[in-house]
């Protein structure tokens, strides 16, 4: 999967390192950011093709980042990765293209990123990817 750039946004360094290693072994080009603010700084230079986004982060969380991203006119697809039970709900809330629920395995992550990066960007929709998570209350 050459030439697909993925931005990994998570405040846990170990999660970033793990996700990056998974993506790199599959041939993706990866950059990292520790929170929403850093991520916004990253996309200023060069917009990635896919953004892997944790929701609960210090400084600027996933919701704030997604809102600012859209406000700036970027249509980069987002894959939400969260340990919360209402991952599906949050994903639809920020109009994410897909989500992966922590703890996700290698195949879950790659499948989600692959699906999103090959999708037509003009048809944003939430793709559900295993393991399925129960939507929580609003």
């Amino acid at each position: 999967m050459p030439d697909v750039r993925v931005l990994v946004v998570d405040d846990e360094p170990d999660i970033r390192a793990t996700v990056s290693a998974m993506l790199e072994i599959e041939g993706y080009e990866v950059t990292e950011a520790a929170n929403g603010a850093e991520a916004l700084h990253e996309i200023e230079d060069r917009a990635p093709d896919v953004i892997l986004l944790d929701m609960r982060m210090p400084v600027l969380d996933g919701w704030g980042f997604a809102a600012e991203l859209r406000r700036r006119g970027h249509r980069t697809p987002i894959v939400v990765m969260t340990a919360a039970r209402d991952a599906a709900h949050w994903a639809s809330e920020i109009a994410a293209a897909a989500f992966v629920a922590k703890p996700f395995g290698f195949d879950d992550l790659i499948a989600a990123v692959e699906q999103v990066s090959t999708q037509e960007l003009t048809k944003p929709q939430v793709a559900t990817v295993d393991p399925p998570s129960q939507p929580g209350p609003p």
């Binding site: 072994i25 210090p58 340990a83 703890p103 996700f104």
Partner: protein, 631 residues
């Protein structure tokens, strides 16, 4: 017929009517007081009837007629003095003097009237003035001592007596020195007297209702908020006081269903409850038979508990069951030193109050039930939150472990000879350890939740505990400052758990101190039976409005970021539960100059008696119900 004659006729009809009313009452309740009341109005009725007969048959001029009228009239003050004794008690000599004086007046009226008519009339005036005046004064004094409806009725009786005596005296004076003015005033005073007597001795029901209203309202005002009062004992004590005040009684007690079947429990004046069989005492009798009991001599009615009634000066006991529909809720008892003057009003009031108390207790039961359901819902919600938060916190390290392990797997599959991914292996190990810590933290919290917080208590020198903690950190190159008291302080603690608490506090202090300044450990005595352990840091501090909440489950101070805090927010919660299980308290206060000071206060064994090894911390003491003799 002139207006004056009309008034006189009205007086006569009213007095005879009153006589019939008290006769009816005395026949139904032949007490000493009702018989003396009958005597009072009987004498007046005889005078009235005789006067009518005399006018009809022209007996006015006969000596026999005048003597009879005088004797009959003179009975009235005697009856009043006897009523004073019934209502408030008089010295015995007053009754004797009254009886002797009546004998003299009667003898004079019968034997000397024809000879010295005016002297006899003066004697009757003196008799009325002295004895009747005394009675009127005594009624008024009794009125000020009583409460509620009794007070109003007593006031009316006193006023009636005063007006009656004035009317009789003026009538005599009018005979001796006839003046038109006195002839006018006499019948008017008599009219006032009979109306006042009616109000006092036979008040119509609408007057009673109006008189009761303020007492009832006062009772309701005092007791209405009690349905919300949390402490049931406290609420009952308040209702008891309000009920006793409404009666002007010495005291009141309320018994409700006890903890054992077939018992009633009563709030004790000294705190706690006292429990008796549900047919014990007059109260228990009223409860078990579900009927009102009036006992004017409690010691005789219930000889088994005579000493209890006597010590409480409870000669009169009125007990009424508290019942809602068919449900037995409890019993209300009112004590008084003396029999109530107008007992029918008190009976009515006690039943009304018992009904009101039933409503109050029912409201309390409902409120307790609602609170119970709320707390169960809250517990369920907390459990849900606990699971959800626990799952969230476990998922992050699991993601790393799973992801890194699968990466290793894949790398191996692609190239079995590739060098080991050292960083990945380290991550797996680190996150697995983190998982282990989280799981044990969770289990600790869960164990505390189930109450088994203290496990292995022993008398320990707290200085030793501090030194052990100090040593552990020194092994990691952290030489904490330590301040010890001059005298060793001993406390009964589970050493391992207490050291965990201190470890946790020191770790927190280190975590939230960015400049590397080391926390300080202080042990000091907080009085003879209290030890204080302080962990003082100079770190970021904790906002004051969060000082309480940081000890709650899953709560993290708002000014620290999760970058540094990898725990589940259970550490301080575990600390608090552990300290509380030791009968102690933990709190946080700001360190002067910045930072936080965590204080652990523990019950200490008194230094003077180091051999008292059996002292149990208050938290694990079994509350004992005191068994003070009490009705």
């Amino acid at each position: 017929m002139t207006a004056l004659e009309l008034i006189s006729l009205a007086n006569q009809v009213l007095f005879v009517g009153l006589f019939v009313a008290v006769l009816w009452h005395a026949m139904r309740q032949p007490t000493r007081a009702s018989v003396n009341t009958l005597l009072l109005f009987g004498s007046i009725a005889v005078v009235v009837v005789l006067a009518r007969l005399a006018t009809a048959f022209s007996l006015n001029e006969t000596g026999w007629y005048s003597s009879t009228i005088l004797v009959a009239l003179s009975v009235a003050p005697l009856a009043m003095v006897r009523l004073v004794d019934d209502f408030s008690g008089t010295p015995r000599w007053v009754q004797v003097v009254g009886l002797v004086a009546f004998g003299v007046v009667a003898a004079l009226s019968i034997f000397a009237f024809a000879a010295v008519e005016q002297i006899v009339e003066l004697a009757v005036i003196a008799w009325f003035l002295l004895v009747g005046g005394y009675a009127a004064y005594a009624f008024a004094r009794e009125a000020t001592r009583t409460h509620g409806i009794t007070r109003r009725r007593m006031t009316a009786v006193a006023l009636g007596a005063l007006l009656f005596i004035a009317a009789v005296i003026i009538a005599f004076v009018n005979v001796l020195l006839p003046t038109p003015m006195l002839g006018m005033i006499g019948p008017l005073l008599a009219l006032g007297a009979v109306i006042a007597f009616f109000l006092g001795f036979a008040p119509p029901s609408w007057i009673r209702r109006a008189w009761r209203e303020p007492d009832l309202r006062h009772f309701l005002e005092r007791s209405i908020h009690l349905s919300a009062l949390e402490d049931e004992r406290r609420a009952l004590v308040e209702v008891q006081e309000a009920a006793a005040a409404a009666f002007g009684a010495t005291g009141a007690r309320i018994g409700i269903a006890g903890t054992q079947l077939g018992t009633l429990r009563y709030p004790s004046a000294m705190g706690g409850w006292v429990e008796y069989r549900d047919d014990e005492f007059i109260a228990g009798q009223a409860y078990s038979r579900q009927e009102r009991i009036v006992s004017l001599d409690a010691s005789r009615a219930d000889p088994e508990h005579a000493s209890v009634y006597q010590s409480a000066a409870a000669n009169t006991v009125i007990a009424a069951p508290i019942t809602a529909e068919e449900r037995r809720i409890g019993v209300l008892v009112i004590f008084a030193e003396r029999a109530p003057i107008f007992i029918e009003d008190d009976l009515w009031l006690i039943e009304l109050l018992a009904g009101q108390i039933a409503v109050l207790l029912d409201a309390r039961t409902l409120a307790t039930l609602a609170a119970d359901i709320r707390s169960r819902e809250e517990a369920a919600r907390l459990k849900e939150e606990f699971l959800s938060a626990a799952a969230h916190d476990l998922r992050t390290p699991l993601t790393v472990v799973l992801g890194q392990a699968e990466l290793l797997e894949r790398r191996m599959a692609r190239d079995p000879n590739a060098p080991v991914d050292a960083a990945g292996v380290t991550r797996i190990a680190r996150e697995a350890r983190r998982l282990r810590d989280l799981v044990s933290e969770l289990l600790d919290a869960q164990r505390l939740e189930q109450g088994s917080a203290i496990m292995d208590p022993a008398d320990s020198d707290l200085g030793e505990v501090i030194r052990a903690v100090h040593e552990r950190f020194r092994d990691h190159g952290l030489d904490l400052r330590m301040t010890m008291p001059e005298q060793p302080i001993t406390s009964r603690v589970d050493r391992m758990r207490l050291e965990q608490v201190l470890d946790n506090l020191v770790e927190n202090a280190l975590k939230y101190t960015a400049n590397g300044e080391l926390p300080e450990l202080v042990l000091e005595a907080g009085g003879a039976t209290e030890a204080r352990l302080r962990v003082i840091d100079h770190g970021v501090g904790i906002p004051e409005d969060e000082h309480e909440r940081i000890f709650e489950r899953f709560y993290r101070a708002s000014n620290v970021q999760s970058i540094t805090d990898t725990g589940m927010g259970l550490g301080l919660y575990i600390c608090r539960r552990t300290v509380e299980a030791h009968g102690g308290r933990i709190w946080v206060e700001p360190t002067p100059g910045g930072g936080s000071t965590f204080v652990v206060s523990l019950p200490a064994l008194a230094a003077a008696q180091p051999e008292t090894t059996t002292v149990v911390p208050p938290a694990v003491q079994v509350p004992t119900r005191e068994a003070a003799a009490d009705a």
